[in-house]
């Protein structure tokens, strides 16, 4: 029970990987990539958690009280916003592929040569 958050993170990673490997649509592939990314967020935050700890924000809370780790939260929150633009780039590539090959299926694209 004390390892359940880590197991959930591993499960999300593998489920996303399965979605990418068996995908028939490039847009579906981009969303499975975001599922894989969110598994790393869950893992990071689970590592930084302390029992009966509060948020690391000390407005009205005395400074010595038990708080969770702020460094993993800092890494995660910048990553969430930046990954939107990376997924936007992948979708723009998918739109370009669709304009040239008229299909979004990864299996059929390799067959249309020349």
């Amino acid at each position: 029970m004390s390892y359940l958050p880590y197991i959930v993170a591993v499960w999300l990673f593998l489920v996303g990987l399965y979605g990418i490997a068996t995908s028939r649509n490039l847009i579906h592939l981009a969303v499975c990539l975001t599922v894989m990314q969110s598994s790393t967020y869950v893992l990071l935050l689970a590592i930084g958690y302390k029992h009966r700890g509060t948020a690391p924000i000390f407005y009205g809370v005395p400074v010595g009280s038990r708080a969770v780790d702020p460094v993993v939260q800092a890494l995660t929150l910048t990553d969430i916003v930046v990954s939107v633009t990376v997924v936007g780039l992948i979708l723009a590539l998918a739109l370009d592929v669709h304009r040239r090959a008229k299909t979004l299926d990864p299996d059929e694209i390799a067959a249309l040569e020349g």
Binding site: V8, H28, Y41, I57, V84, H98
Partner: protein, 81 residues
């Protein structure tokens, strides 16, 4: 681990699995927004309000816009040509 965290973790695992298993892009966009909401609740229960704010804003505004615009472009593009 308090029961609220257990429930949030199980909801996240369930929502993530359904996002991958649904193949139609339009339905998957709505499910992705629901998945972002379950992740927000999980981050809040893990005592990280900054990360929860970030996920809420991104999963509610940025991802649906970008995904829906791409899907609409693909559909209108395949009708023209």
């Amino acid at each position: 681990m308090i029961p609220l965290q257990l429930a949030a973790l199980l909801m996240v695992a369930l929502a993530g699995t359904t996002v991958v298993l649904v193949r139609d892009p339009l339905r998957m966009t709505i499910l992705n927004a629901v998945y972002a909401l379950t992740l927000t609740i999980l981050f809040l229960v893990f005592q990280s309000p900054d990360v929860a704010l970030s996920m809420l804003v991104v999963g509610g505004i940025a991802y649906p816009v970008v995904l829906l615009a791409a899907i609409a472009r693909v559909r209108s593009g395949s009708e023209h040509e």
